[in-house]
């Protein structure tokens, strides 16, 4: 009995300490970003690994999500004779929700896990300690560029996802199912608002990018320096990113579009 209570106490204290480390880590990382202005090459190299290499999965998924939306939307709308509104359905779903959220989930799986594993492995092989020994701040040299790169890449990838998805919906709806192409675009332009829909979607993807960048770099940096610890950190990154993205999405949607 006492053992269980003690364990509860240990867990609580550990998670509180973790929360504190997390906040402290974020402050260190953010203050390290300033020094990157003199070393842009570091960020470029990371943008290559988290951004450019995520492009294929984002484009392919975006295309298929858009095509499925086109197909399902058409099947539903055609019953009401409203298949001309297909463009609105596809564009609003993508720009408001699916673009930022699905891109963020894919990004967490593709890039977030890689970031956590890489940083965790650097810690396990004592590279981070080695840098600190040579008076190189590992937060500035290793963490900050990765954080910034993930933060920059995420909104761009979400925008690519939405844009490709709209084109995928066009291919299925207009080219295959015979919806009028002019109606597809004009109804879309009539109903999708630049500020209300597109900007809010971009804001969502920026928030998700920040969350994933923070989670992934922190989990790697805070990993137990063992093979098992790195594996756990990677798993935690993906699971927590997915949960955080979906929860944040609900909160942001309620704030942006809800009447709460």
């Amino acid at each position: 009995m006492t053992g269980a209570i003690q364990q509860l106490g240990i867990d609580t204290l550990n998670s509180l300490a973790r929360l504190g480390r997390r906040a402290q880590f974020l402050l260190q990382t953010l203050s390290g970003i300033g020094s990157l202005l003199w070393r842009p090459g570091l960020v470029v190299a990371q943008l290559e690994s988290v951004g450019v290499r995520s492009l294929v999965i984002i484009v392919v998924s975006g295309l298929f999500v858009g095509m499925v939306l086109g197909l399902q939307g058409y099947n539903t709308l055609v019953d009401f004779g409203a298949e001309e509104s297909l463009g609105v359905v596809v564009a609003l779903s993508l720009v408001r929700e699916l673009g930022p959220v699905v891109a963020a989930l894919l990004f967490a799986g593709r890039a977030g896990s890689a970031l956590a594993a890489e940083i965790g492995l650097m810690k396990a092989t004592e590279q981070l300690d080695g840098m600190a020994m040579m008076a190189v701040d590992p937060v500035k040299r290793v963490i900050a560029p990765r954080f910034l790169a993930a933060f920059i890449a995420m909104p761009l990838l979400a925008a690519v996802f939405s844009a490709v998805g709209v084109l995928g919906g066009y291919v299925v709806g207009v080219e295959w199912l015979g919806v009028d192409g002019g109606a597809y675009w004009s109804q879309m332009q009539g109903k999708v608002d630049l500020y209300e829909d597109v900007y809010n979607g971009v804001i969502k993807s920026i928030v998700f990018g920040f969350a994933i960048a923070w989670l992934a770099t922190f989990e790697g940096y805070d990993a137990q320096p063992t093979a098992e610890g790195v594996a756990k950190a990677t798993t935690r990154t993906v699971v927590q990113s997915a949960l955080v993205v979906l929860m944040l999405d609900f909160i942001l949607t309620a704030l942006m579009f809800g009447e709460i």
């Binding site: 090459g41 470029v44 004779g81």
Partner: protein, 156 residues
């Protein structure tokens, strides 16, 4: 991978992302129709606007020429006042143009349809469209239909 290839790849990636954002802004959203926002504004008064909303389309002969800018209610005349933005390339509507509120499809959105008249004078910015026809409210039509049926059978 050498630095140059990396940098070109990243440059292309950022460019692609920005292009996608631009595509969303220009092709997907209403930026293109907002861009030429220097159109002119006319108002119309309706007894009942039905489900008309701000940003509902304004059409002439089915062609979209503008959108609803604002909807107010005049407490003196008890009429709805609809302010419309007409795009600048569509000038030269006659002064006695009439405005009606129609529904796209049976359950579709409501829009304003303008019907040009035959007057010489041209509709100017700030003018009011005098001839208007209110929205058809489905419940009223059904009600009238049922009422008509009832009185018909009462006659027999």
């Amino acid at each position: 991978m050498n630095t140059r290839a990396t940098e070109i790849g990243v440059g292309l990636f950022v460019l692609l992302g920005l292009l996608a954002l631009g595509f969303l802004a220009v092709q997907v959203s209403n930026l293109s129709s907002m861009g030429n926002g220097d159109g002119y504004r006319v108002t119309a008064r309706f007894e009942n606007i039905g489900g008309l909303k701000v940003r509902s389309p304004v059409t002439v002969g089915g062609v979209r020429v503008g959108k609803v800018h604002a909807i107010n209610y005049d407490m003196h005349t008890f009429e709805a006042v609809v302010v419309m933005d007409i795009q600048p390339q569509y000038t030269l509507f006659p002064e006695d143009t009439s405005a009606s509120i129609f529904t796209a499809g049976l359950l579709g959105e409501q829009y304003i349809s303008l019907e040009p008249g035959g007057a010489e004078a041209i509709l100017q910015a700030g003018d009011q469209i005098m001839l208007t026809q209110s929205a058809l409210v489905l419940e009223q039509i059904i009600g009238q239909f049922l009422f008509g049926k009832a009185s018909e059978s009462g006659d027999l």
